[in-house]
Each structure stands twice: as structure tokens, then as C-alpha cells.
């Protein structure tokens, strides 16, 4: 059977405020925003019940595609195409870590169409959700992944309710870079850290999700602060094949080496937890140390020391090793 996108109404929002009003007016189950469309369209095409709204509010024409630099850092509009981020000389100079991470998203064709905001707020790629099982994110009250096939897309750091990992590549890099996100909603605008954006699984506006953006809110901008002089960064993504796949594990690292020894280390894992996973033990381990192969391995081990892979269902302990390998390779790539 051919799989078609069900009929929907496409509404061109005139402004961010207009989009917020429309989302509020239509209600949580009835409308979602669209920009690049690479995720929401595939969910609708696959007939995921709770992800098939009657209306899509198009925010791609609201002037949110920009990369601007000011004295403090770089502003990136949420609907900026991922390939524009990868190719931006501003980003490559000020935050090469982000350019590397975004450059490893999916495929070139998908990076051309998808947006940076869409990558950060993407829905999980859990096979149960994507096959329309009635899981937490699809109107049900069970996590099939926690007890079933959790080899690829479920947490090795525990969880509650939904155990599916945040699969994006941009968010771990932004988290390591200390980025902030601006969210506009009916109550106004707020600018928060990535840790605040991703507190973990909770129910937000009736939806089970890992981030705090409500159904009638719009993430409009990321701000990447300038990194202190002497900061080095590295990105490494472990995936099954050389392209296309989500991370089996990834690592984004920033560390200041101006004194010769590490300081202000930031180590964030992707693809292994329901949110970008800050590996605090690895950060503490690194601070004060000179870089060496032994230190890379020590940091890798520290990053996964509190891992609790799933033991129900098929299990995913092997990805603990991969997360460790991602950290080692990200550190080796520091530049």
C-alpha cells in the first residue's frame, strides 16, 4: 500500500505571535508547527495517531532563518537550514563544534531541508512510536522500548515513562557550548540554558516529552556565547553506517587549555539518554589534567561510570562501550 500524508490544513503564520495564537486557538491535539518538515511529515506519513494534526502552522517564512554575530556570540534563528549552519563561516570560526555536530546529521539532502530548531526539538526515533504503538508519546501509558527491542534508540542512563533517547546531534553540541534557547509563548519570551530546555521526561501541556516547549510555544533562536580564549572542542558520532543513521552514541566536548592543563571541561553525550547527557564525572576528571591517551580513556570511563543500561527486553549495554569510545575520540579530535 502506498503511504500518503493524510489531508491537513496548512496555515501560513504572519508572525511568531500569530503562530502562537493559532496554536493556542487550535489546541494541542489539533495543530503543530512545520518548518523543514522532515520529521513531522514523516510522522504523519507513518500515521502516528497522536502526531497527525489537522493543521500545520508554517513558521518557515517568519524571518527566523539567520546567523548573526554580535560581540558576545552568535545568534542562530530556529528555522535556519542545518546545511546553512554547517557552511557558515561565522559558525565555523566561533563554534566549530556546532558545525561538526550539525554536519553529521542524517544526509546532505536532509540537512538542506531540515532546520536547526527542528533538530533540537525533534521527536524520538523509537521504532515503537514510529510504528504507531500506543506508547507514552502516542496517547498510551507504556514504554514498549523499555521491555522490548531497545538496542538502538533507548536510554543507557535510566529514565521514567518514556525511555527513548534524544537522537539529535545539535543539542549535545549546544549544551557543551553553553548555548541558550529563546522560547516565545502566550506568556511572553524566556531565554534558558540547554539544561533548562531539557530537564528530562515530564508531561508538558498533555504531551510526554523531554523538553519544556509547550504546544503553543515556539523556540525562535539559539545563542552561542563566545568561548573563552584557549577553548578547544571536539565532536564524535558513532553510528552504524557512514551516513544517514542516528547516533548510537555521540560526544561533544569543550575544554579550556590556555593554562596547559584542562579547565572548564564540558562533556555532553548524545544518543544515549532521554536528553543530551552531561557527563559531570568526566568533566571533573578532566579539569586540571594535561591531555594524553590515558586521560582520554579515563574521561571515557568516567563519562559512563553511572550508566544503567536496560536489562529488560533485548538490552543495550553495548552502547555503554560506544559512549565511552565517543568521548575518547571527541577528546582526541580537540582543536
Amino acid at each position: 500500500m502506498r503511504t500518503e500524508v493524510p489531508k491537513f490544513g496548512l496555515v501560513q503564520a504572519q508572525s511568531v505571535q500569530d503562530a502562537i495564537n493559532l496554536l493556542s486557538k487550535y489546541g494541542a491535539g489539533n495543530a503543530r508547527i512545520i518548518s523543514g518538515g522532515t520529521d513531522i511529515i514523516s510522522r504523519m506519513k507513518n500515521g502516528i495517531a497522536a502526531h497527525t494534526p489537522n493543521y500545520l502552522i508554517d513558521i518557515s517564512g517568519l524571518g527566523l532563518n539567520y546567523i548573526k554575530q554580535d560581540s558576545g556570540g552568535v545568534h542562530i534563528g530556529a528555522t535556519t537550514a542545518n546545511s546553512d549552519v554547517v557552511n557558515s563561516s561565522v559558525v565555523n570560526t566561533a563554534a566549530p563544534l556546532l558545525a561538526s555536530a550539525v554536519g553529521s546529521i542524517a544526509t546532505l539532502q536532509l540537512r538542506n531541508n531540515s532546520t536547526i530548531g527542528g533538530d533540537v526539538l525533534q521527536e524520538v526515533w523509537c521504532p515503537y512510536l514510529r510504528n504507531n504503538y500506543d506508547c507514552w508519546r502516542n496517547g498510551g501509558n507504556v514504554c514498549y522500548g523499555a521491555i522490548g527491542d531497545n538496542r538502538y534508540y533507548h536510554s543507557i542512563f535510566g529514565g521514567r515513562l518514556c525511555y527513548a533517547v534524544h537522537a539529535g546531534d545539535a543539542a549535545p553540541a549546544m549544551s557543551a557550548l553553553g548555548a541558550q534557547a529563546t522560547i516565545q509563548g502566550p506568556l511572553g519570551s524566556r531565554t534558558i540554558s540547554m539544561d533548562q530546555l531539557f530537564p528530562g521526561i515530564s508531561v508538558v501541556g498533555g504531551r510526554v516529552q523531554e523538553h519544556t516547549v509547550d504546544y503553543n510555544e515556539i523556540l525562535t533562536e539559539f545563542y552561542i556565547p563566545n568561548q573563552p580564549k584557549g577553548t578547544k572542542s571536539g565532536w564524535y558520532k558513532v553510528r552504524d553506517r557512514g551516513t544517514w543513521d542516528f547516533a548510537l552514541a555521540s560526544a561533544a566536548v569543550t575544554v579550556n587549555m590556555s593554562s596547559g592543563a584542562a579547565s572548564n571541561a564540558s562533556v555532553v553525550l548524545g544518543g544515549v539518554d532521554v536528553v543530551p547527557h552531561r557527563a559531570s564525572a568526566a568533566e571533573s576528571y578532566l579539569n586540571g589534567k594535561s591531555m594524553s591517551e590515558d586521560v582520554y580513556s579515563g574521561a571515557g570511563a568516567a563519562a559512563v561510570q553511572d550508566a544503567t543500561p536496560l536489562t529488560y527486553g533485548i538490552g543495550n549495554a553495548y552502547r555503554v562501550e560506544l559512549a565511552k569510545g565517543a568521548v575518547i575520540n571527541a577528546l582526541r579530535a580537540l582543536a
Binding site: M1, R2, T3, Y128, D149, V238, D240, R241, G242, L322
Partner: protein
């Protein structure tokens, strides 16, 4: 031509694919692309329009259909079709009877279609499907073959889970169990110095997932059926449709896409699944019911529901040998998971076990079992021999490890190949000689090109260490049952007075360059050094005669033999017209085609150009060629493959660095096409070894990855740095110009070569299950670390 050849055109290294431009420019019309203008209807709603087919599928592995309610869909103006409305048939009696079950029937696999719907647009089809409700009673189910055959197992069929009557497959009736036995395996095993096993090897369930999904367009006109579809065997499809609908076969016309000539008969690859026709049966039934043209297609998420599959196999293997490496005994018990209907007792895989090496004592049992895992065991590029090669060539590698012998040397020592005077080896089961073998020449050529003796460092030693990167090398021999003739062949060659040639074959080009190969064969048979004036007419039952389909790596051989016979028949008619124009008393029986001439083989200067000879004709002249199914000959395709892999021991990432393939092709016909087959087979092999698996949720038995994202195939990023495509032209005597088929042999032995190389990279850890996932690689790394080899 770069080198002088005794042939007119075959083997010319400069020949390019004839269809490449229309394929890369998008001009080729595939079955799904067929629109009203292609088939002569005017597009008006009603009789002139094309309606679209959709299906409602059962999510459960096994369920009783309690009630089918199509009233809402009908009330909304859609057409629905249930099994109750199909022509009468005995459910589960054949593949096509499985097309749509009826109320109170029991569905047999997850995703089984239950109701068909039709609408005027593809998105309305989705709406129509959503309006159909089916009530099921989910029933217990079986997913594994051994479980199905265990005492007290749930009985899926009244006759048990391994029907005593056997299965009908494309080769006829195959028994449901098989026992190959010669010598005394138990006694030899008891006397062996070293016994390895029983070891358990397993392979996965895979679907074909060609880039072109299945599609069919069906039209009924006054009791005659016309079908344009994605198929590898149009004539068989016409016979099946005629039988199902109870009409004479001459009232059914089937083509591959638009068919008719080589530009019309395009197929976006057919890896075996496109010899079946469930989709066509239901599409035609819907066309009959609606009275309009109906187009049906199965998109990615449903591509497994009416398809055969790479069947999961499990094998318990034991091998015995003497200290000097002489193999003495082989025992195996094989389980084939045949899915809901039809299948295999593993005979193809088992034939690989006992043919590969000179092992005098063999006892192998093959068991088949029906399960609720998937539709049916059946054709998928090499039908069981990817699995068979993985089993035997993994086991032999483990024997080399136990003996602490160079695994290449052990294989070379025991290899079943030509004897010292070049006589081909004997198939030890049927006790008849091979038509030809490329061994041991293929082995030696590959070993030298790969540089095995420089790369192999011994057991437990990676071939190269570079920080966290470990390289390993592996070898696997090829001895496969595909590439032979399989049945009869037929074809026709027609020459026109202007010297142009039409070549007729019932075969289709399933995407691998067959139309180029076939045109080369037509030109060669007629002694032409160019095929520019040769037009292929193929892929269409109204224009060609059946020559059995394009599968089993048979088409190069089948087409060439038919065209050689057709050229002979053409000469019988044409040469008596030509002879009077040559030297006095020229005997037409001495005339032959060659070098763009028709000439006297007793006096080559006594000849006339092909074009001038054609001008002697007053109307087109056609020669018909036929050859019968040859008996009393064992046809095996032989060769050797080497792989060098690199494992990142921190991330488990695997890269195939270098791959050497050496195959006894008999004779190269289409040189670039043959090399392209090696690369294509290698890509598919890399995918099957490392990624590809269609998996079910362990608790509900439902599909979890019916899509190209999670059913991972190798991408261009997985391309090895170096691929060597080597050939042995051993000139097979029962093949046209000596050429045997290699479309499936290019895939066989890829998996064990890579698996053995991975083992070498990781200190001797063994990978006994396909695919070798990242999780398995990590287990190997941890094992090697624990054993001090990493």
C-alpha cells in the same frame, strides 16, 4: 578492442550499458510510472481512468478473522474487495491463494493483507483503508523453526508444521526434509584427530528491498487481461493469472513495465521476489470488480507482506580432520524457517557444505518448518547459498583455528577442484562430474592478487595495528549451485533486408544490464562486431516465447544458448539463398557467421558481408532457437574471495578495506556489466553481513523496521577502498561460448570472508550469527580484551 579476440564482440571491455542514458535521465518508465497515455486510455473518470489499489493488513502474527466490515468504505464511494469475493480457491494451498484470506480464515504472518480497497487517488486509498474494520481473534504463534518442530508444538497446519507432501517451489516439488549421506561420518568423526563442533550458526530474515517497489497495472477488456508489472518472469505471471481467473492463457498478456522492447521493459531490480504475483492477482481482481484500470503498488512499509524472503536458517555443524589438515568428516543439522507458506528444506545451502571440499564422510539433515514469522521462504538472490556459504566457510575457519593452520592453506589443501590433468571434480552426492570448475586456478589468482601470504600473520594476530584500529584478513571459497541453466531455453533472431536484427527473448533485464548482455549474445551469434543494429524485443508475453524467467543467474546462459540455436536455424534458411552468390559450388552447410560476414569455413575468403547477404532477402527472416533442459550434468559456479577489514576497537565501527573476488565465469560476455555485478554483490553482501535484518517486536511479533531507515543497507560510504574483480575463463562446455552466470555467485561467500576477517582482527573471536551487529562487534572487542589479544 584492446586485445585481439577470437570472438566478434563478447568480452569487449569498451562496451557500455545500452540503457544507461534513459535510466539516469529519468526517461525510463517503470511499472508505477505508467499513466493513461502509456496504455491508450483517455483518463476520464470511469472507464478511462486508473484507480489505485490499497490493502488493509493484519498486524498480528496469527489471528482468526471474525468479521470484515467494509460498509463505511463502500458508503463513502470506495470499492472494496475481500477474499470472499475473489474467485474460489483453497486458502493456503498455493502462494496466490494467500493473496486475500476470507472471513473465518486464519491469518498466518504479521502484515498479511486482508482486504483490498480502490479509489481514484493514492491518498483516497489511505482514507478508504481507514474506513474498513476487521475484527480479529489473535491466536498463539510460532516464530522460530526449531520451536515449530519441537514435540508438542502448536500445529499451524492439520498436517503438522513440516508438511509431509513437501513444498512446491520454482524448481518443482522439494521434500520437506532431506538427508545427504555418504561414507560413514560417525566412524570418521571418531577417528579424527581434531573435531570442531557442534557449533551453532544462524542467519537472519531479510527482504529484498529493491529500490523499485512492486507495482502492477491491470486492465480487463472483453474477458482478456492485460497486466503491466514489475516482474522477472512475465510468461509465468501470465500462466498464473490465467489459472487463477480461469481464462485461457492466450487471453492474458503480461509485460515488464511497458515491455515490448528493451526501452520499455525496465525493472528497478528483481532479486527473486518479482517472480511471484500476489499483487498482480489482487490488482487484476480489483480491476475486474471495478471495470477500470487499476494500479497497485506496495510501498516500503508493505514491501514484505506479499514477498518471499531470505529465510532465516540455523545450522548445527561438526567437522573432523586429521592433524595434517585432511578433512575427513562433516555432520550438520539444518533448520530452515519457511514462513507461513512454501519454502525450502535447505538443499541449496546443504549442497554447498559437501561440494566445497573433498570430505569423504558426510551426514547432513535438512529440516523445514512453517512459522508465522513472514510470508514465505522463496527466491532471494541465491536462495539459501549466502547462508550455506556462511555456515561451511565459518566452520572451516574454526577448524583452521583449532589446527593452528593458515586458513587459506587448509582450504587449498582440501579444495574440490580440477585434477592435475584438468578434469573437473565430481559432485559427491549425485556422483556426476561438474560441467566445469575454476578451481584451484581461481583460488591461486585471488590469493596472489590479495597478497594473502604477506597479510596473514597467524591466529590471534591482527594483520595490522594502528592505535585503536585493528585490521584482519579473511577468506571464503565459493562453490554455488547458481549460474547453471535451470530448465529449457528459447529465443528468436530476425534479420531484415536492411541488415538490422531483432532479437526476441522471454527474459527480462532485471536491472543488472541483461539487455546489454543479451544484445551482445545476439550479435555474437550472428558474427557481428557491433550491436548497434540489434534491437532487443523482450519482457512481453505477446511478443516473445517463454524461456523461463530471469533468476538463478541463468539468463546469460539461457539467452546465449537460445540465440546460438536461433542463429543456426536462421542459417539453415538463409545460407541456401546466400551460397549461390558466392564461389561456384559453395555448400550452404559450410557457411558460418563471423567478422560481419557470412563465409565458407573451408575457405574464409569466400564470403559476403552480413549487410549484403541481408539485402538478398525480400522480407524479414526469423530463426527460432530452443534447447531442452539438460540432464546428467552438475553445474556449479566456483571461486574464492578475500576480505581485509578494519575495526575501530573504541567504537566498534567496521570498514571493509580491500576485497578480492575471483570467480570462474567461463567466459566474459559483458565486461563492464560483470565487474559491476561483483561490486553490487559485494555491497549487498556487506549489508547482509553487518546490517540487514527485518526484525519483529519480541513481545507482539509485529514489524519494527519496515523502512529504509532502520532496515539498513550498505551505502556508498561503506564502499571498500579497493575491489578486485578477477575472472577465470574456464570455458564451460555446456554454456554459450563457455559463459556461466555470476549474478548470485558474486554475493555468495562475501559474508564468511568478512566474518572471518573480523575474527582475525579481534584475536580469533568467532561471529556465528548474521548480521554481525555493532553489539556483536563490541562483544568481540571485549572478549579479545579479556583474552589479552587486544
Amino acid at each position: 578492442m584492446s586485445t585481439p579476440s577470437k570472438f566478434n564482440i563478447i568480452g569487449n571491455p569498451n562496451i557500455n550499458r545500452r540503457d544507461i542514458t534513459r535510466k539516469v535521465t529519468g526517461a525510463a518508465v517503470y511499472a508505477w510510472d505508467i499513466n493513461p497515455e502509456h496504455i491508450g486510455v483517455d483518463g476520464t473518470v470511469g472507464s478511462g481512468s486508473i484507480a489505485y489499489l490499497g490493502v488493509v493488513t493484519c498486524p498480528y502474527p496469527r489471528a482468526k478473522i471474525l468479521k470484515i466490515d467494509t460498509s463505511a468504505a463502500e458508503a463513502a464511494g470506495f470499492v472494496t474487495l475481500t477474499g470472499d469475493q475473489m474467485p474460489p480457491y483453497s486458502y493456503l494451498s498455493s502462494r496466490n491463494s494467500l493473496a486475500l484470506p476470507r472471513t473465518s480464515d486464519i491469518t498466518m504472518y504479521p502484515g498479511q493483507p486482508v482486504v483490498a480497497v480502490a479509489a481514484l487517488t493514492t491518498d483516497q486509498v489511505e482514507d478508504a483503508a481507514r474506513l474498513v474494520t476487521v475484527e480479529y481473534e489473535p491466536l498463539p504463534y510460532i516464530l522460530e523453526a526449531e520451536e515449530a518442530l519441537a514435540p508438542g508444538a502448536l500445529q499451524l497446519y492439520n498436517g503438522g508444521n513440516s508438511p509431509a507432501g513437501g513444498y512446491t517451489n520454482e524448481n518443482g516439488i522439494a521434500p520437506s526434509t532431506i538427508n545427504i549421506k555418504f561414507g560413514d561420518a560417525d566412524a570418521a568423526m571418531a577417528k579424527a584427530d581434531v573435531v570442531v563442533g557442534p557449533l551453532v550458526y544462524e542467519t537472519q530474515h531479510e527482504q529484498h528491498y529493491e529500490f523499485e517497489p512492486y507495482a502492477a497495472v491491470a486492465q480487463w477488456t472483453n474477458g482478456s487481461l492485460r497486466v503491466w508489472s514489475s516482474n522477472q518472469w512475465a510468461h509465468n505471471e501470465a500462466s498464473s493469472l490465467a489459472a487463477f481467473f480461469g481464462v485461457p492463457v492466450n487471453n492474458v498478456t503480461v509485460s515488464t513495465a511497458l515491455g515490448g522492447n528493451e526501452g520499455g521493459g525496465v525493472l528497478g531490480n528483481g532479486l527473486g521476489d518479482k517472480i511471484y504475483q500476489e499483487l498482480e492477482v489482487v490488482t487484476a481482481a480489483m480491476a475486474q470488480k471495478t471495470g477500470t484500470v487499476v494500479k497497485g503498488a506496495l510501498m516500503r512499509n508493505n514491501q514484505a507482506i506479499w514477498a518471499s524472503a531470505r529465510f532465516p536458517m540455523k545450522s548445527y555443524m561438526t567437522i573432523g580432520a586429521m592433524k595434517d589438515g585432511t578433512m575427513t568428516a562433516l555432520k550438520a543439522t539444518v533448520y530452515t524457517n519457511c514462513g507461513a507458506i512454501g519454502g525450502s528444506n535447505g538443499d541449496d545451502a546443504i549442497s554447498d557444505f559437501y561440494n566445497m571440499y573433498n570430505i569423504p564422510n558426510v551426514n547432513i539433515v535438512g529440516n523445514s518448518a512453517n512459522t508465522n514469522r513472514y510470508h514465505s521462504a522463496g527466491a532471494m538472490r541465491d536462495v539459501g547459498e549466502s547462508q550455506g556459504h556462511f555456515f561451511i566457510e565459518s566452520l572451516v575457519d574454526e577448524l583452521a583455528q583449532k589446527l593452528n593452520m593458515d586458513p587459506a592453506a587448509l582450504r587449498r589443501q582440501n579444495l574440490r577442484g580440477n585434477d592435475a590433468s584438468g578434469n573437473p571434480p565430481v559432485d559427491p552426492n549425485v556422483n556426476q562430474p561438474y560441467s566445469s570448475s575454476a578451481q584451484p586456478a581461481a583460488f591461486d589468482k585471488a590469493a596472489t592478487a590479495f597478497g594473502w601470504s604477506q597479510k596473514w600473520q597467524g591466529w590471534g594476530k591482527s594483520s595490522q595495528v594502528n592505535g585503536p584500529l585493528r585490521r584482519g584478513v579473511g577468506i571464503a571459497n565459493l562453490n554455488g549451485a547458481k549460474g547453471g541453466i535451470i530448465g529449457f531455453g528459447a529465443g528468436q533472431l530476425q534479420v531484415s533486408p536492411d541488415g538490422s536484427v531483432q532479437a526476441f527473448t522471454g527474459l527480462t533485464d532485471h536491472g543488472a544490464g541483461g539487455n546489454t548482455t543479451f544484445a551482445l549474445e545476439a550479435a555474437e551469434a550472428l558474427g557481428l562486431t557491433s550491436f548497434d543494429n540489434v534491437t532487443m524485443v523482450m519482457s512481453d508475453t505477446s511478443l516473445t516465447t517463454d524461456t523461463i524467467g530471469t533468476f538463478g543467474s541463468r539468463s546469460t546462459r539461457a539467452c546465449g544458448l537460445a540465440f546460438i540455436a536461433a542463429a543456426r536455424d536462421l542459417g539453415r534458411q538463409w545460407f541456401p539463398i546466400v551460397a549461390p552468390k558466392l564461389a561456384p559450388n559453395t555448400d550452404p552447410k559450410n557457411l558460418v557467421f563471423g567478422n560481419n560476414m557470412i563465409f565458407d569455413k573451408t575457405n574464409p575468403s569466400n564470403g559476403i558481408s552480413f549487410t549484403a547477404a541481408a539485402a538478398l532477402l525480400t522480407s524479414p527472416m526469423k530463426g527460432s532457437g530452443f534447447f531442452p533442459d539438460p540432464n546428467n550434468v552438475t553445474e556449479r559456479t566456483t571461486g574464492t574471495k578475500f576480505a581485509e577489514v578494519e575495526v575501530n576497537t573504541e567504537t566498534g565501527a567496521v570498514r571493509v578495506v580491500h576485497f578480492t573476488s575471483s570467480i570462474g565465469i567461463g567466459r566474459v560476455i559483458f565486461a563492464k556489466g560483470a565487474e559491476s555485478q561483483v561490486r553490487g554483490g559485494l555491497f549487498m553482501g556487506i549489508g547482509e553481513t553487518l546490517y540487514q535484518e527485518l526484525y519483529l517486536d519480541p513481545t507482539t511479533g509485529r514489524h519494527l523496521n519496515p523502512n529504509f531507515h532502520d532496515f539498513r543497507i550498505a551505502t556508498i560510504m561503506e564502499a571498500p577502498d579497493q575491489v578486485d574483480a578477477l575472472w577465470i575463463e574456464q570455458n564451460d562446455p555446456v554454456a554459450p561460448w563457455g559463459a556461466v552466470g555470476i549474478g548470485e555467485p558474486v554475493l555468495m561467500a562475501v559474508a564468511p570472508a568478512i566474518a572471518n576477517a573480523l575474527s582475525n582482527a579481534l584475536g580469533g573471536y568467532r561471529f556465528r550469527t548474521l548480521p554481525i551487529s555493532r553489539e556483536d562487534i563490541v562483544a568481540g572487542i571485549q572478549w579479545a580484551r579479556a583474552n589479552g589479544t587486544l
